[in-house]
Amino acid sequence: MAFNILNHSAVPKHEILSDDEIEEIFADVDYDISQLPKIKVNDPVSKAIGAEEGQVLKITRKSETAGIFVTYRLVSGENNQK
């Protein structure tokens, strides 16, 4: 059995958002999801949770300033530079 990186203390919680959740979270913002920070499909975490290109991940992590901070990343393809 391979080592599960998701259990590592330095890997924050990654969740795949459903379409409904995406709609709800990004309803009142002046940007669209293509402007979100990216995470590659072949990122170890993307692979571990089985994320697919075009999905949005919700990342909940500890923050030195804010305690807990929630951020979002768009899963992007291999050749996408940004």
Binding site: V29, Q35, P37, T65, A66, F69, T71, Y72, Q81, K82
Partner: protein
């Protein structure tokens, strides 16, 4: 200046074809000469007047404009034989390695070509980089080159090597007379290197079809591969390489011209030899020479090519050298330009001007001007200025008028002043001298943070230095050992208004790096306030009023008149200082002089180190660094945050005045007398150090007997080393503590029988304890013991074989043999100690030098990575492409400037505010760390970095902490 306004749609990078070069050329250069005996340009020479002119008295033969107007025109040199362009050696190699030796097709089969072409077109459409795909193509082809035959013509392949920068070599397989492949004994084919000539390279490149060039990453529409081999060389216009006439009348040519002369000379000889049918060997030699000259013409620092030199031995500055590096066109002329309306001079201190001000020498004030529109309110003043002329201070240098839509600039001269004044009307612009109250930008390099450039109000002063208030030294990291600073004068009202509200000094008292003041008291400002506010200091009432007057506290908008009534008794220093504090200020904190007693006696502290401010009255405690020092001032911090920058500015300015009064009343001086301790004390210290050294010897003996118990995870040697370092460290500390016992500011308490005011007698200790300058460590090193010297983080190891100096036995491990300095600075170091001390000191200097250059590079790269980030209205951080970098600034959305030492709020402060005195019981007042953490850390770093800016000054101070 003529200008064409066009919108840039896109930029295409490509290569110039020989046809393009010929087309843009106005003259074919053939003669390797410049001017004839009369100084006229030689026809078809390198200075041919069709290439443009520089001299304004001459006319360009191409465009007919005068020198200065003509921007210059390119010429060309027809090269007798092709040469490889240095910039493309690598690309040529990569392309040849990916194409067939015979037919020049790319070593991909038709399906692969189609697939790659399609993918690339897709990416191009999307505006993305094809770089990765091209890399893949090269990789596939490189593998095929040695192992397979051409998929198009079936030819055997010969590998291609490159010897940097431009020698392309074909690795040819050897065949015997029967046409059989010759091999080494182990089966690898026998090969021979063959140097391809530039002509052969060019032919090979020429064979590559357009479709194949495309998959190789070369867009044939703008760059055919063979254009990387030059057949015709563009000659830049003379405006690019002007000749200089020296004082002696001699003409000196630009380095590029020299290089072009070389190229032409060899080119002509090559042509002559070829025409005369000279032997192949001679032609090839000349060809190689031509290649060398063209190579160095482009880049005189190409690796593997000896640089072309001037007669004096100086390497020539050719095209690449003009662009590259710090002094190159990009970093020196495009990213950093010189500007007008700026001034630079040495700085010096002036505690009598406000922190918002800067003293500007009259000489500078008369040179840099402010464009002022004439209107009915300032016309009289401006007329006066014009009449004063350019040489008398509040004068004017130019007047700009607009007549019939044409702008005219009139210089104010002795004989036209009256006329200019007569014709002065509303709407004209007078370039008047800088005067008191103008807003200017003030800057000190290296401009590492935003406080390195702040807006100041001008105070025109005599003499030739910029004057600045001492409180602004920390943000600029300035001192007065020869530092110079720059001043820029704003030229528009918008910039002035913007600077005044955003960049003024008072707006930057709080640093965004940590939530505390960076502008604040230093040095005598701190010791002065301490001397004034310490317990027992009093002044006669009339002296008090004199000090109040001198500190501009009379008629001060922030000082209530009720505090200035006669008391008919002596005033205490604390009462005087309280005049500076807002009437509703309440706070308490531990001062810098606090000795961190086991149980704090608070108000009853014997050192007067517990500061209590009640309703704006300083009732207990002395003012020192912790009150209003830069990086840590708590009162200052509170005043900026609660009462705003204007109040804080006034607090700093007036406290400077008051501190000066305080320091003048007592006087402050220092000398080695301050580091004197009684003979008995020295004996005790010596005995103590001797004991430690014996203990070290004992440890060594134990170790040598093999009886030393190693610490877990350590070897016996490491254990011994650690124990020795520990013992010696403790010994120095104890020696220091013993000395500290004698190094007191003066008498300890009011119970002492004699005059308390006079009791402050050790000013070195006052400065160290109040945080004004130096530390107790410095003082005890002078008095008691310098301590262990370190190189590379441990005791000194290096020097001779198995020992540091020949004065010791090999393998000696004792305290002295490894750099322990038993002596104090005052008693003096013996030669061995002195040598070790110099070793430690040198390491410190080298470290700082290395660290500055490295941190500077890191800073540059960080800034370029972050410079386009901005905070948007929704609190997110975006870049210029409008993609999100951070959903909420700093994750907590807090402006660090307004934070409390980096934290959003300070609960303790809130409690105190709400609960008042009752809060005390609830709070851990003892363990408060408000801001102090960051501030003091910053300060330590600053002190460490202090001796860094050493353009002109060389400081040899060093510390071995």
């Amino acid at each position: 200046m003529k200008g064409i306004i066009k919108k840039i749609d896109r930029i295409n990078f490509g290569l110039m074809s020989p046809e393009q070069i010929r087309e843009m050329s106005v003259v074919k250069i053939e003669r390797p000469d410049t001017y004839d005996e009369d100084g006229y340009p030689i026809e078809s020479g390198l200075m041919d007047s069709r290439l443009g002119v520089i001299d304004p008295s001459l006319k360009c033969r191409t465009c007919g404009e005068k020198g200065g107007e003509c921007q210059g025109h390119f010429g060309m040199i027809e090269l007798a034989r092709p040469v490889i362009h240095v910039g493309f050696g690598d690309d040529i190699h990569k392309i040849l390695r990916s194409t067939c030796t015979e037919c020049g097709r790319v070593l991909l089969d038709d399906d692969e070509i189609e697939e790659f072409t399609e993918k690339m077109e897709e990416l191009q459409e999307a505006g993305e980089s094809v770089e990765d795909l091209v890399k893949d193509v090269y990789k596939i082809c490189k593998d095929k080159k040695t192992k397979e035959v051409c998929p198009h013509c079936g030819a055997e392949q010969e590998d291609i090597k490159i010897v940097k920068p431009i020698d392309i070599i074909e690795v040819r397989k050897q065949y015997d007379e029967n046409g059989e492949l010759m091999t080494e004994e182990d089966g690898t084919p026998l090969t021979e290197d063959y140097d391809l000539t530039a002509s052969e390279v060019r032919e090979k490149l020429q064979r590559i079809p357009d479709e194949d060039a495309y998959v190789l990453g070369v867009n044939p529409e703008v760059a055919r591969p063979e254009w990387m081999v030059l057949t015709v060389l563009p000659v830049p216009p003379v405006t690019v390489r002007p000749s200089i006439t020296l004082d002696t009348g001699e003409r000196s040519e630009d380095d590029l011209t020299h290089k072009l002369v070389d190229i032409l000379r060899i080119n002509q000889r090559l042509i002559e030899n070829m025409d005369a049918g000279a032997p192949q060997l001679i032609v090839e030699d000349l060809w190689k020479l031509l290649q060398y000259h063209v190579t160095t013409y482009f880049d005189n620092e190409a690796s593997g090519v000896p640089p072309a030199r001037h007669r004096s031995g100086r390497p020539l500055k050719t095209l690449a050298q003009r662009l590259k590096g710090k002094e190159g066109r990009f970093r020196s002329n495009l990213s950093g330009k010189r500007v007008n309306f700026s001034a630079r001079t040495v700085i010096s201190p002036d505690p009598n001007i406000s922190i918002n001000e800067v003293g500007v020498p009259e000489m500078i004030a008369k040179e840099v001007t402010v464009p002022t529109y004439v209107n009915e309110w300032n016309i009289e003043e401006l007329k006066e200025a014009i009449l004063n002329g350019p040489n008398v201070h509040p004068g004017a240098n130019y007047v700009k008028k607009t007549i019939n839509g044409k702008e005219m600039k009139v210089r104010v001269l002795d004989d036209n002043r009256e006329l200019v004044v007569e014709n002065l009307e509303y709407g004209d612009v007078v370039m008047r001298h800088l005067k008191d109250g103008d807003i200017v930008l003030f800057n000190r390099q290296p401009s590492l943070h935003r406080m390195s450039m702040m807006a100041h109000e001008v105070r025109v002063l005599p003499y030739k230095t910029f004057r600045l208030n001492l409180c602004v030294c920390p943000p600029y990291n300035a001192d007065f050992d020869g530092d110079e600073m720059n001043m820029h004068v704003f030229q528009t009202d918008e910039s002035r208004a913007e600077a005044k509200s955003l960049m003024r000094v008072q707006e930057h008292i709080l640093s965004p790096r940590f939530g505390g003041p960076i502008i604040g008291a230093i040095h005598d400002h701190i010791s002065g306030a301490y001397l004034l506010t310490r317990d027992g200091f009093t002044v006669r009432e009339d002296d008090a009023f004199q000090m109040i007057r001198k500190s501009h506290l009379l008629n001060n908008e922030y000082v209530d008149k009720k505090h200035l009534k006669r008391k008919n008794r002596d005033w205490t220093g604390k009462e005087l200082f309280s005049l500076l504090l807002p009437d509703d200020l309440n706070m308490n904190y531990k001062a810098e002089i606090c000795r961190k007693c086991e149980t704090c006696l608070k108000e009853d502290c014997q050192y007067d180190a517990f500061v209590v401010i009640k309703d704006g009255q300083l009732t207990h405690g002395a003012i020192d660094e912790a009150a209003y020092g830069s990086f840590s001032g708590k009162i200052l911090d509170t005043i900026v945050k609660e009462y705003g920058p204007s109040r804080a500015k006034e607090f700093l300015d007036r406290s400077t005045d008051l501190a000066i009064c305080g320091i003048m009343k007592t006087g402050i001086t220092t000398g080695t007398n301050d580091e004197e301790i009684p003979e008995e004390a020295i004996e005790v210290i010596d005995a103590h150090l001797d004991k430690a050294e014996q203990e070290v010897d004992k440890l060594i003996a134990t170790y040598e007997e093999g009886l030393l118990q190693p610490l877990p995870g350590r070897s016996a040697e490491e254990t011994l080393e650690m124990r020795i370092v520990q013992v010696l460290g403790e010994a120095r500390d104890t020696a220091g503590e013993i000395a500290e016992g004698y190094l007191t500011m003066g008498k300890q308490s009011q119970d002492d029988s004699y005059d308390y005011v006079m009791a402050v007698e050790n000013h070195s200790v006052v400065m160290a304890r109040t945080g004004a300058r130096a530390s107790m460590l410095n003082l005890t090193q002078i008095t008691a013991c310098v301590g262990q010297q370190a190189v590379r983080g441990g005791r000194i190891e290096r020097g001779y074989i198995n020992r540091t100096l020949p004065h010791f036995k090999k393998g000696e491990l004792g305290a002295k043999a490894k750099g322990f300095v038993h002596s104090s600075y005052k008693s003096g170091l013996d030669p061995i100690e002195f040598f070790f001390h110099a070793m430690g000191g040198r390491e410190g200097l080298v470290d700082t030098a290395v660290r500055t250059s490295r941190s500077g590079y890191m800073q540059r790269r960080l800034v370029s990575a972050l410079e386009d980030l901005k905070l948007t209205a929704d609190g997110s951080i975006r870049n210029t492409a409008d993609t999100i970098i951070q959903f909420r600034y700093g994750e907590d959305g807090t402006d660090p400037t307004r934070s409390v030492g980096g934290k959003v709020i300070d609960m303790d402060d809130l409690f105190t505010e709400v609960l008042g005195d009752d809060a005390d019981a609830l709070l851990r007042l003892d363990s408060r760390d408000v801001g102090e953490d960051y501030g003091s850390r910053e300060k330590d770093e600053m002190e460490y970095f202090e001796e860094e800016n050493s353009d002109y000054e060389s400081e040899t101070e060093y510390e071995s902490e």
